[in-house]
Amino acid sequence: MKISVIITLKKDVLDPQGKVIHQTLEGMGYDSINEVRQGKYFEIDTKETDNVKAKAKVEEMCEKLLANLVIENYKIIEPK
């Protein structure tokens, strides 16, 4: 089963890369952007077959390694 994880920076954390991407997009003519925030996306293919168990494991992975909770939030996208 494949589970996806999206990691985003928390609201009050500065994202200089997102800012530069925003500026570049504006330079390309996209002038209606309020803000760009850069994040990370993971696809985890697990042997686990039980949805609930798999999600719990991935949550643990997020807390322990994938995200740094001081600056990042994570969102687990459950398999359909």
Binding site: P16, Q17, L65, N68, V70, I71
Partner: protein
């Protein structure tokens, strides 16, 4: 005095640290990250470099390596652990010191000499250093120290800030902040002050013909404090 320098895949200041420690009298051992046991040490150093190619977040992979559990146990038992640059990034990822190190504010890799002001001398790292201001070298892409407001309050209440970026006269201002760190923080302690993480490299300042002597001051003092 015995020291251990941990080498991770991608460390590149481990040998410099070995040279510096030996120059000032430490009996140093190099320890591989995949080892489980830490040799008997009075000081453990996590050196600078690019452990695991800075994958995921700088220091995040190294913080989970086999030797780190021994380093964490050593630190929690009161052992002296110092993380320099990437070593500082590894320390924040283990949670031994609070906060995180973000990408530098202006997205540049910074490589230059800076001045830092010692904020606290009631610890074994800076006790008896006569100078208030030291000139060290920095070389990093992710040295922008950040923490939550609650963490900052705790850090300040416990006097955990070790050094701040400043000018040659010790003025701590925005214009002397190379990377955007909160409060110009260049290095911090854990609550007990046996763990120190800092971005500057004292091991690059141990020879007048190469750089400067402020690193020599630091190491000479450190070994005396540990005796």
């Amino acid at each position: 005095m015995k020291s251990s320098v941990i080498t991770f895949p991608g460390s590149n200041c481990d040998r410099d640290m070995d040279v510096a420690l030996k120059k000032f009298g430490f009996k140093n051992k190099m320890v591989w990250h995949a080892d489980a046991e830490l040799p008997k040490s009075d000081l453990v150093v996590l050196p600078g470099g690019f452990s695991y190619g800075d994958y995921l977040r700088c220091g995040s992979m190294a913080s989970k390596s086999k030797i780190m559990q021994s380093v964490i146990n050593f630190a929690n038992a009161g052992g002296m652990v110092m993380g320099i640059c990437n070593g500082f990034q590894i320390l924040v990822e283990t949670g031994l010191v609070p906060g995180v190190l973000l990408r530098n504010k202006y997205l540049e890799f910074i490589c230059k000499n800076v001045f830092v002001k010692i904020n606290d001398k009631k610890n074994k790292y800076f006790k008896n250093v006569h100078n208030e201001i030291l000139e060290f070298h920095i070389a990093h892409n992710e040295g922008n120290y950040f923490c939550t407001n609650d963490q900052l309050k705790e850090i300040e209440d416990n006097n955990q800030i070790a050094i701040n970026y400043c000018d040659e006269n010790g003025k701590i201002e925005d214009q002397f902040n190379p990377n955007g760190s909160i409060k110009n923080i260049a290095g911090i302690f854990n609550k007990e002050k046996n763990v120190l993480g800092m971005m500057p490299h004292p091991e690059r300042m141990i020879d007048t013909s190469l750089s400067g002597e402020d690193g020599s001051l630091f190491f000479k003092n450190l070994i005396n404090n540990l005796k």
